[in-house]
Symmetry: C2
Subunit: 213 residues, 2 copies
Amino acid sequence: MRIAILLYNGIAALDAIGPYEVLSRLPGAEVIHVGERRGEVRTSAGSLGLTVDAELADVPAPDIIVVPGGPGQADLMREGPVHEWLRAADTTSTWTTAVCTGSLIVAAAGLLRGRRATSHWLALGNLRALGAVPCEERVVFDGKYVTAAGVSSGIDMALALAGRIVGDKAAQEIQLMIEYDPQPPYSAGSPATASADAVAALRARSRFATRPR
Amino acid sequence: MRIAILLYNGIAALDAIGPYEVLSRLPGAEVIHVGERRGEVRTSAGSLGLTVDAELADVPAPDIIVVPGGPGQADLMREGPVHEWLRAADTTSTWTTAVCTGSLIVAAAGLLRGRRATSHWLALGNLRALGAVPCEERVVFDGKYVTAAGVSSGIDMALALAGRIVGDKAAQEIQLMIEYDPQPPYSAGSPATASADAVAALRARSRFATRPR
């Protein structure tokens, strides 16, 4: 089972590493970090480098595609090699998935038209503008298309996906191994539970891009 | 505020990236990924490369030290440059922290003697053998020493730490930005809630090392 995780400059690290930590533990999984060019990309905050091990053309037919989000998403809204790869790989993938604003890239490539999907809570309107049907859920399955909400939600998505692929028992063992028994110190993780002030502050700072730049 | 995250071969990626994703969002934070040698390290599953941007000697006095765990921890139990750096940096750090089996490294360096601390649930006995007082809690504060349970717990630790450093309001904004509203599909994340079968299966596979190898 080949799992291709797309990396690019300006990615939010946890968007990629949440699914990686879960999916790399699937029996028989081969995870490959792909990108436009081999070598290092830097994450959104700039202070972490991740390695692209294979070019897109080297992994034309992964079983699972994972498209993480992050501010660099805005650079991948334009028609180009990433969109071409996504569309081609999607024709044979078993699962096509995205975390956070990764779903905007997948939607811009034309793969979520009319499909139920989610994204970072600040980007749901942008997802609608790209032809998807946005859902305020943490993980959304629509056929083989699986999308997750903001940043940390990729862990929940990957565990749900692991359950579909290897069954509940094996997925639960992965959850226990990564000790995913979350105990956030606050219940501020969603706009439904955070303070109105926090929601307003983040809305004011938000600048997700749906158009090519 | 300088935050040094230790990277090494065989690290569990999420151990490092959970805290990174939270702490890099602190106002004024400068995160530096440090290691014995500049360049790439590979994570435990082998299929992800992370970049060490600075050698240990380049970052002698970080405000926050983060020591992630992972199978490669076993190679860092021996007296050597990492232990020397940890002890020296600890003399001036504001917070010395560890995730998962990272606490075994910190304990082996002699910094957790008699202190309350935690680790991956499979490694609590090893932590005791190294002179710490193991606690079955997800995040443990003992003065400036902060430790977290397995792999994914670094997110909870970093949010709790963010609250102490910048206050609840700013920490809650970080939580909302990374949409940390966890909804695991199973309640199998702790040995207290997982099936007895899952606990037994993982115990049988466990081989944490406390001795130098």
